[in-house]
Amino acid sequence: MFSTSSQRKFWTFSDENELARLREKHNYFFYARQNSHIDEQQRFTYFLSPDEERQLLKQYELHLKEFCKRFTPPMPKGVVGTAFHYFKRFYLYNSTMDYHPKEILATCVYLACKVEEFNVSIGQFVANIKGDREKASDIILNNELLLMQQLNYHLTIHNPFRPVEGFLIDIKTRCSLANPERLRSGIDEFLEKVFLTDACLLYAPSQIALAAVLHAASKEQENLDSYVTDILFRDAGRDKLAILIEAVRKIRSLVKMVEAPARERVRLIEKKLDKCRNQENNPDSEIYKRRMRELLDEDDVLHVGSSRMSLDTSGVTQVLSPSAS
């Protein structure tokens, strides 16, 4: 139940400003932690701005959607929704400069598969990835725990898909709308887009579901307003109804505003990120390699020879870098 869930308590925010504040905070924290000689005025010439991070993440959300769409075996919608929630939650409390979205994206999907009981082995999973699959699987498995921790182990996600089914059943029984099944394509299309917005961090799954149903109805030139006010929420009271109508209006307008970020801009952001990202987390950096050597020296029991601990990254960059494709 959403009403008693951790999703509502910890991961549903009051408004977009709150989300923006969190993101700006972690964008700033990253800069502050670097102790860089770059002063605040010049900060964004080198580091990503909050807006640049937003653009970058929007691009990666599109990648996430595409990846799930092409996944074999076909992935249930619940897995996709859950993966989107994880990805968005992760970057509310982390900067892309600390953890590159390429490192987090596949891990979100992989963890979502487990939680949603869509059983795929790591081998099957990385078969969907082009490039060095062994490397990819190491990356995913090693980021899994980090992701769970950053999600504060709140792994159960309430998606809008079930409430949608509820509404459709109710419409079939209590509403005069002819052939409600024709709403489906409009609903699916809306829900695909809704995950490219912040709606799932701001609204209840049932509100998102209702927005999808109403959007689909209006596409079919149907009006369900009286069903909503007179039947569905007859006993809800004026205030509650007003809140709901406002939520639906906001969700629909968020979806309307979805657009892909400009390719050229994202390309420049990625270039900038390659320079300013946390070099301690960047395997190609000197500092990373040095730290790794220190760690391996200290920890004599580590199996340096095993492939999971391999330090040889030569050639992998090209294969796995998204900008290379």
């Binding site: 599109l62 596949a106 490397k135 601990m309 796995l320």
Partner: protein, 325 residues
């Protein structure tokens, strides 16, 4: 548009660095004070939560063997479930305050150490009963019985079978309320548990488990029945010395079941037991309230399908005819 997820080119060790720092974070968050207990599944420490006004907590350390697919599916699912259940804040379930991990790389053999942080509760029912100066007052027995069954009913309503109800796993607060502990993650370790040399108590095991037959949530009702009887006498009802002794004790108490109720596909034959006649439970539990006696009889029924459910128990006259404190 790329057709695969973008993953990192990082070598797998990247998370190890993160984990090391996470380890220090955890170490700073809680200060270990003393060992509370070691069980079959893990170790429980008393600790101080340095971030929340120094509140005392109980930290349970559990080790999870990593698989080829990373963190085992069952562990991921159960953490999700524990976190989700926690949102209900059921009064008869011990509060799960936090989950943290002790890192991945420091474990030598592909192990993950998880810390489940619980509210600290005064004592368990075992020590409560052994410290009781004399028989418990009837009102206390009734409210404790009600607490236990309410907790079991809550778990069952979420399709969770505790499987290890016994006085050690029932915690008694300073105010005398009982809370269920040690469920969920335990499941993951079942196989391991049987292999360990730790003697796992048989005394609360229902016949279907001892016989190796299929079991369901009714198993908890049996165990709870044994605990309820123990509240009256402060002594275990069926302290068997071995699997076979346990079965003999059970049948000596409730009588050898009719052939029609003997489960299929079990290796033990009905005829290997003498045809014990049922005993009068009232002779073992003298001075017991007749309603309490009837309730416990209904919980200690051989055939799981004929046993009371937790919900039936809550509606029993023992609890409904007089208000429960």
């Amino acid at each position: 548009m790329m057709s695969r997820p973008s993953t990192s080119q990082s070598p797998p060790v990247v998370a190890s660095i993160n984990d090391v720092s996470a380890l220090f974070q955890n170490a700073q968050k809680y200060e270990e004070l003393s060992l509370i207990g070691t069980g079959a599944y893990g170790t429980v420490y008393k600790a101080r939560d340095l971030h929340n006004g120094g509140q005392i907590v109980a930290m349970k350390k559990v080790k999870v063997a990593l698989t080829e697919d990373g963190i085992p599916l069952s562990t991921v699912r159960e953490i999700a479930l524990l976190r989700q259940l926690e949102a209900y804040r059921h009064p008869n379930i011990v509060r799960l305050l936090d989950v943290c991990h002790g890192g991945q790389c420091l474990e030598r053999d592909q192990q993950l150490v998880l810390f489940l942080v619980f509210e600290h509760v005064e004592q368990d029912l075992d020590s409560f009963l052994s410290r009781a100066p004399g028989p418990l007052p009837e009102s206390r027995i009734r409210s404790m019985s009600h607490d236990i069954i309410s907790g079991v009913d809550f778990l069952h309503s979420h399709r969770i079978v505790h499987r290890d109800l016994k006085p050690h796993n029932l915690l008694v607060t300073a105010a005398g309320r009982v809370k269920l502990a040690d469920f969920g993650l335990a499941k993951t370790y079942d196989v391991e548990m049987k292999l360990t040399s730790v003697v796992v108590t048989l005394w609360y095991r229902p016949p279907e488990v001892l016989l190796g037959a299929r079991y369901c949530s009714a198993l908890d009702v049996w165990s709870a029945g044994c605990v309820l009887a123990q509240l009256h006498t402060r002594r275990p009802l069926l302290p068997g010395a071995s699997d076979s002794d346990q079965l003999h004790r059970i049948f000596r108490l409730i009588g050898r079941p009719p052939r029609s109720e003997w489960p299929d596909n079990v290796s033990i034959e009905l005829d290997s037991f003498p045809s014990y006649p049922p005993q009068d439970l009232a002779r073992i539990l003298p001075r017991i309230h007749p309603h309490a006696l009837d309730l416990i009889k209904g919980m200690l029924v051989f055939d799981p399908s004929k046993r009371l459910t937790a919900m039936d128990c809550l509606e029993h006259p023992y609890f409904t005819e007089e208000p429960v404190a």
